[in-house]
């Protein structure tokens, strides 16, 4: 965890630069004006979510193939950070939707997909809490995690097909058609700031899971072989 302090400083720096750039440097958007500035933060949340959930998916497969507990720690960390980013993305989206579209929520393909993803990964975390045996918890939740990830494109396609048949009253008016170069640069900074922050939180969550695992092992050792506990404690890393 030596890289932790420099990384944290980097993330803090990036976040401050991104916040300043989004508020003061990025040019005014033509139709939405100041409201549009939430976009830099909003898109950052989604890129963090997709990265975190992809990490979970890879970790789920990794656990099933190798059975190394590290993969399981990574998958729960990814899912938790992904749900947090998804929540932030949904909230910023709702806040943006009201002034931009006049309504808080619309059942657009992207919004619906993200909401369903949120539900799926919250269920994933609930499922993990309800299985006692660690090995079985890892395997069964990995199967569900893979199902949830496979479901995401299907949810998107089904909503896409549905909404093209019945056009929604409000269409996405974001900066879809060509970004101003300054806007593009500000966007790059804020997305990389959010991604760095997400990775730090993920690494911390992973460390917490590892420590939990070590604690469990020590507890088992303490119950079965009390003499070994003392020597194990003496050897334990102090972090």
């Amino acid at each position: 965890m030596k890289a932790r302090i420099p990384l944290t400083v980097l993330a803090a720096g990036l976040m401050s630069v991104a916040g300043y750039a989004a508020l003061f440097i990025a040019p005014d958007e033509r139709t939405m004006h100041e409201i549009q500035r939430i976009f830099y933060f909003h898109l950052g949340c989604w890129s963090a979510m997709f990265t975190a959930l992809t990490i979970t998916f890879v970790a789920n497969i990794g656990w099933l193939l190798t059975r190394r507990p590290q993969w399981d720690w990574l998958s729960v960390s990814g899912a938790e950070v992904g749900v947090a980013s998804c929540t932030a993305g949904l909230i910023t989206g709702v806040l943006w939707g009201k002034p931009a579209w006049g309504i808080w929520w619309t059942w657009d393909a992207r919004l619906t997909t993200c909401f369903v993803l949120w539900l799926l990964y919250v269920s994933y975390l609930i499922l993990r809490g309800l299985i006692e045996d660690p090995g079985r918890r890892a395997t069964l939740s990995a199967v569900f995690g893979i199902f949830a990830f496979l479901d995401a494109p299907l949810v998107y396609v089904s909503n896409r097909l549905w909404r093209t048949q019945h056009p929604a009253p409000v269409l996405l008016g974001g900066a879809n058609s060509g970004l101003d170069p300054t806007m593009g640069r500000v966007l790059m900074i804020s997305v990389s700031a959010m991604l760095t922050m997400m990775l730090i939180v993920l690494a911390d969550r992973y460390r917490l899971e590892r420590l939990r695992h070590e604690l469990d092992e020590l507890r088992v050792a303490g119950e079965t072989r009390p003499g070994e506990l003392v020597s194990a404690l003496a050897k334990a890393p102090r972090n």
Partner: protein, 224 residues
């Protein structure tokens, strides 16, 4: 023993077990009926209104009764500790899963066959003219529901609060299936019945994706 043969034997076992008591089937049919009747109080069931809301209502009733009906499929094996016996049998885990899936598919289809005429009468919609195409939608939808539901019932059977957990895991996964099935049914019940190929493709795609995933993951799912 081949996978197909093993699955057929398991299917026969499931059917024999069920038809001794018929308790699962009876309860499922009555539950679906209760959902359909209760829904009628939430709106005015005139012909036009029924066509608009009916398809969604029908599939929600199937999804709810399916998610309740699928639970005993592995929950019963877990409670009686017969799951270990099944695991020890010299058959592939996918055969075990497939036998259960087919049994659940038949049970839910049976419930649907009873429910649809009742629905048509109560909500004043005509399904006879489009029976063939409707059957295709029902088969594809029910297959997807039972394939995902059977896998998730294995997962839920190993957890605490399993009765509540299965719908929680299953219903969000079924979002694409629900949208496609409801839209396909709605287009069949419209004044000029038609069937969009896109919805059928989506239903078939859902079935293929999750049947393949179940096949690939069955070893992990049923390991000791």
């Amino acid at each position: 023993m081949s996978t197909a043969r093993a699955a057929a034997i398991l299917l026969e076992k499931e059917l024999r077990l069920e038809f001794r008591t018929r308790e699962l089937l009876n309860a499922t049919i009555v539950f679906a009926l209760v959902v359909v009747v209760l829904f009628s109080f939430s709106f005015d069931p005139t012909s036009a209104e029924s066509r608009r809301i009916g398809p969604g209502l029908l599939w929600i009733a199937f999804l709810f009764s399916g998610s309740l009906m699928l639970h005993p499929s592995f929950g019963r094996e877990q409670a009686n500790q017969t799951l270990d016996a099944l695991r020890m049998a010299p058959i592939s885990p996918f055969a075990l899963l497939l036998g259960k899936m087919l049994a659940n598919f038949l049970f839910l289809s049976a419930a649907e066959i009873v429910l649809i005429p009742v629905f048509a009468v109560l909500y004043n919609v005509s399904v006879l003219a489009v029976a063939g195409r409707f059957a295709v939608v029902l088969i594809l939808g029910t297959l997807g529901l039972c394939a995902t539901g059977t896998v998730l019932s294995v997962i839920a059977a190993h957890a605490r609060m399993r009765e509540l957990l299965l719908p929680l895991l299953l219903l969000p996964i079924l979002t694409p299936l629900l949208i496609a099935a409801v839209e396909a049914t709605a287009s069949l019940l419209a004044p000029q019945p038609g069937l969009e190929r896109g919805w059928l493709a989506l239903l078939a795609g859902f079935d293929i994706v999750f049947l393949t995933a179940s096949w690939l993951l069955s070893d992990f799912l049923l390991e000791e």
